[in-house]
Every structure is written in structure tokens, then in C-alpha cells.
């Protein structure tokens, strides 16, 4: 990056560190922090959508929808995350490619499943084989984010389902006595009040989500833990201009601090949110 970095062997001290910390590899490392934030920002709305859909489905009076809700929340929560994360992106990708294949290559005579192989025509590939690497990475990121959302959505659905049921029943009855329709009761009375009951569960999930991002590498996304491990691994003179011994501990301490700060900021945020939502509620929290 700097001009004096051409031959790192002859420099030392501050200039060595300023060269070392600005290698291309380190820039990828810094960039991967944004990947984590992007994942969090992208998945949270999706998780809430899945959670509401799941919770409302479970409360539905139509039984196939209710069964679907129960199946989603109990099955997804029961399957180990790692298995789910390996399965969903591949299944999703194959599903999309299968549909594209049917639409674009109707003249294709060979079967799609050949032994172990999943073969679709080149035009059906998602993303296209000729796309730039960043397109592949973005696509991988989105399938990963979707897998995350499905898993965490199931947990959040259970929390929200419980919170909806926790709203005091007499509140709903009173609303009914005032002549509100079921829809109005849900939107005006039940939904605004359920947040305070859902918040502890949701803040737990948020904390777990923050820490779960290293699972991203399983899904082909290079996250901060991947780069920290890669950078910290011992380097010999032969393969690197910056040889060093096993420095993974140092890099992991940086990650530790990062995660602690993130948790700390989240704690403050949730505390404030809790305070705000408690106002006017018939709970102990509102009188504190």
C-alpha cells in the first residue's frame, strides 16, 4: 500500500506494522466486518417476516395453515443448525436452477440427476458461470442469509407466538366489548402490547445471531473469523513477505473485543427499547 512496503524484510517497527496491517489480505479482513453487519441488517427484517408468518400461521383457525405453522416452528428448531445450513442453500440453489432449466432449456434431453450429479444447462446456472466472482459471492451471501432467516425465524416465531398469547385476555375481551372486530383487536390491542413480552426472547436471539455469523464460512461466505484464522495462521518466509508464528490468539482477541462491543451496544439498545415499550403497560417494568 505504501511505497516503503516494497521490501518488508528491511523495515521494522512501526513501518513494518503499517505495511503488514495494510496488505490486501488485511483489507479483506476489514471488509469482512461489513459482511457481518450486512448480514445482520439483511436478515433481521427477514427473520421478523418469517417469525410473524410462523406465529400467525400457528394461531390460524384454518387447520392446514396451523399445521404448517407448527411444522415449521418445531421442525426447524429441532434440526441441528449446521445440517440445516448445509442443506438449505444447496436445496434452494438446486430448486432455482431446476425451474430455470425447465423454462430455458426445454429441448434438453439428458436427465437432471445423473448419479450423484445435478446437471442443468449452462443458461440455467444461477448465477451464470460467466458472471463475475462478486456476483457468485453476492448470490452465496443471499442464500446464506435466507438460510439464517429461516432458522432464526422459527425460533422468533415461537417467541412471538408466546408473546401474543401472553397479552392479558381481559384486554382483548374489553376491546371486543367496545365493538372492535377480530382484525382490529389484533392490530390495535394485541400487537402493540405483545412486544414487551417478546423482547427478552428476541434480544436473546439477536445475541445468538451476532455470534452465529462464523457459520457463514460453511456457506461459502468469508467472514471475520475465516480471515482472522487465515491471517493468524503461521507464515513462513517462503510463502509470505511477512513471516510470523501462530498469531491466531491475537486476531481472536480482536474479534473478542469486537463481539463484546457489539453485545454491549445491543444491551444498551434493548434496555432503552424495553423502557420505551413498558410505558403504560400493566407490567412491573413500567413502574420502575
Amino acid at each position: 500500500m505504501f511505497e516503503f512496503c516494497i521490501d518488508p524484510k528491511i523495515i521494522e517497527g512501526f513501518s513494518w506494522w503499517s505495511c503488514y496491517l495494510t496488505t490486501g489480505k488485511h483489507l479483506y479482513f476489514y471488509g469482512s466486518f461489513f459482511v457481518v453487519f450486512a448480514l445482520l441488517l439483511f436478515t433481521v427484517p427477514l427473520i421478523l417476516i418469517f417469525a410473524f408468518a410462523g406465529a400467525i400461521a400457528r394461531k390460524s383457525s384454518i387447520f392446514p395453515i396451523r399445521w404448517f405453522g407448527i411444522l415449521y416452528t418445531s421442525m426447524v428448531r429441532g434440526v441441528p443448525d449446521v445440517i440445516f445450513f448445509l442443506f438449505v442453500p444447496i436445496a434452494l440453489d438446486q430448486g432455482i436452477e431446476y425451474l430455470r432449466h425447465k423454462a430455458k432449456c426445454s429441448d434438453w434431453t439428458e436427465s437432471i440427476r445423473q448419479g450423484n450429479d445435478f446437471v442443468v444447462c449452462q443458461a440455467a446456472k444461477m448465477p451464470l458461470g460467466s458472471s463475475d466472482q462478486w456476483v457468485h459471492e453476492a448470490y452465496g451471501f443471499f442464500t446464506a442469509a435466507l438460510a439464517f432467516s429461516i432458522v432464526f425465524g422459527a425460533f422468533a416465531a415461537n417467541t412471538i407466538y408466546g408473546a401474543l398469547n401472553a397479552v392479558p385476555h381481559n384486554q382483548l375481551e374489553t376491546a371486543s366489548a367496545y365493538g372492535m372486530s377480530r382484525h382490529q383487536i389484533f392490530i390495535r390491542i394485541q400487537l402493540p402490547q405483545m412486544w414487551i413480552y417478546a423482547l427478552p426472547g428476541l434480544s436473546n436471539l439477536w445475541m445468538i445471531l451476532i455470534k452465529a455469523t462464523p457459520l457463514l464460512f460453511l456457506l461459502g461466505v468469508e467472514d471475520i473469523v475465516y480471515w482472522a484464522r487465515e491471517l493468524g495462521g503461521s507464515k513462513s518466509e517462503r510463502f509470505s513477505s511477512y513471516p510470523h508464528s501462530d498469531w491466531r490468539l491475537g486476531y481472536f482477541i480482536v474479534l473478542l473485543i469486537f463481539y463484546l462491543i457489539l453485545s454491549w451496544v445491543s444491551e444498551i439498545f434493548f434496555k432503552r427499547l424495553n423502557f420505551k415499550l413498558s410505558k403504560g403497560q400493566a407490567t412491573l417494568g413500567s413502574s420502575q
Partner: protein, 267 residues
């Protein structure tokens, strides 16, 4: 092995004959260009070949200071693509899901120091070997005796070494990445690590005597080949031709000499 040799011979003969004929016809064109034209006939022109590697197995493949994929296999792969006149792109993939993602079509080849074994061959196909069978060695901390190989042995998950060590008296601990197997020995979690000799060589030589070889090298696994989907016969044939051409003109041996501390192989 015999089949493999037969295949190698077949391609070499074919290559030489074709080259001879073409050379006689037209002296102006270089051999490489013609081989390229000959090799690509079966693969659609608009197809980009996506190559996957682990990026954590020096000197086969690793991530260099610039954060790019580097190593013996990167240079080999680029040369093979050039000879076969293919457009290739690279990506890294964790070791464990590297085969499932190949058969699922997320990329087209695995070029990641993967030994050709019967087990893997049932699921995917391999090209002819581009690196000969490399003995595996045990490495332990200085001062360890040869008994270390029967103690706690670290190996990478889903490797031939992990499978081999499970069959010995040793207690095997498996790790997702090769780097962790070395760290396990350094911090005393494991008594010894079992891995490809070429991978360990750099760690031993740069450890200032901290790490030593223990026990005898063991010969496990065949040579290293490029993993390709079983249905992708065109690509396999193309790559086989390209590898054969690199063997024939000595450029593969030269590449191995450069990347593996002056190792001499006969191809």
C-alpha cells in the same frame, strides 16, 4: 494404477501423433495453439470453468499476502486452462463441503491437493494425477519419541490421513483445517500430526527445530488429481489432455520442482 498408466500412455501417444501431423502440415503455427484447438472441441465456447480450492494447504494452495489464491495448484490450473483454451475462475471452499458443492454444480473442478481414492472416486471422477503419490509423515514436538504416533494423533477431517490413523493404535483427533492440526501439536493437545509430507515440510523447516519428524513415513493414497463431476466427461477429457501435454513437455515437472523444494518427479 495400470489403468491410469494406460490412459496416460494413450493420451501421450495421441498427443504426439497429432502434434507430429500438424507440425508437418504447418510449421508456422506453434504446437501449443494447436493442442489447445484440439482439446477444446468438446466444451461449449461460452462456458466458464469454475475452479474450487481450499486455500489452506501450502504449497499446494494458499491465500497470499494480497488475499489472492496462490500456490502450485493455482499456477498449474491457470496453465492447464491456457493450454485447453478455457476461461477459468477461482474460488475458495471449505474442505468439508467441497465434494457436495461440486456434484451440486456450484463449480466445475476441485483442485485442492485431493488424493485419488476409491471412496471419493465413487462419488466424483478424477483426472489423471498431476502430482505423484506423496508419502504422509508424522510430525511431533522436539524431544518426542517414535511412540508419539501411537498416542493422540491430529489429522484433518475427511482426509486419507484421518482414515489411516483411525486404523492404527492411535487416538485420532480431527480438525476442520490443516493449520489447526499443527497448532494442536504445538499446544500439546495432540502428540503428533499426520499429513502429506509436502505440507508438513515447510512447517518443520521454518520451526527452528521445534518440530521434528517421528516414525516412518507411510504410503497412503494415490496421486493427486483434479476432481470433476462424473457426468462432466468432456471437461475430464480436456483436462486429461492438458495434463498429459504438461507432463510430456516437462513443464509439470518444472512446476513441481519450483514449488516443492526442488523435488524431482518423472513424468
Amino acid at each position: 494404477m495400470q489403468n491410469l498408466n494406460a490412459a496416460v500412455n494413450f493420451w501421450q501417444v495421441l498427443y504426439n501423433k497429432t502434434k507430429e501431423k500438424i507440425m508437418n502440415l504447418n510449421n508456422l503455427m506453434t504446437g501449443a495453439v494447436l493442442i489447445a484447438a484440439f482439446a477444446t472441441s468438446a466444451i461449449a465456447e461460452d462456458r466458464t470453468i469454475r475452479m474450487a480450492t481450499e486455500g489452506a494447504y501450502k504449497p499446494y494452495n494458499f491465500i497470499n499476502d494480497n488475499g489472492e489464491i496462490d500456490g502450485f495448484e493455482k499456477h498449474l490450473g491457470d496453465e492447464l486452462c491456457k493450454r485447453a483454451n478455457l476461461k477459468c475462475t477461482w474460488q475458495t471452499e471449505a474442505w468439508d463441503p467441497i465434494i457436495p458443492n461440486l456434484v451440486s454444480g456450484n463449480y466445475d473442478t476441485i483442485i485442492a491437493g485431493m488424493s485419488i481414492t476409491a471412496e471419493r472416486d465413487e462419488i466424483i471422477d478424477f483426472t489423471q494425477e498431476y502430482f505423484p503419490a506423496d508419502p504422509s509423515t508424522y510430525v511431533a514436538l522436539a524431544g518426542a519419541s517414535n511412540d508419539a504416533i501411537n498416542g493422540v494423533v491430529a489429522a484433518q477431517t475427511s482426509t486419507i490421513q484421518a482414515a489411516y490413523a483411525a486404523g492404527t493404535n492411535a487416538t485420532v483427533v480431527e480438525f476442520a483445517t490443516p493449520e489447526e492440526t499443527i497448532a494442536a501439536v504445538r499446544n500439546g493437545e495432540a502428540d503428533a500430526v499426520l499429513a502429506d509430507a509436502a505440507y508438513l515440510a515447510d512447517f518443520v523447516s521454518s520451526s527452528n527445530g521445534e518440530l521434528i519428524y517421528v516414525g516412518d513415513p507411510v504410503a497412503i493414497g494415490g496421486g493427486i488429481g483434479m476432481g470433476i463431476r462424473e457426468s462432466d466427461t468432456d471437461l475430464k477429457a480436456t483436462m486429461n489432455t492438458a495434463i498429459a501435454s504438461m507432463k510430456a513437455d516437462g513443464s509439470l515437472a518444472k512446476l513441481i520442482f519450483e514449488w516443492f523444494d526442488g523435488r524431482v518427479v518423472k513424468y
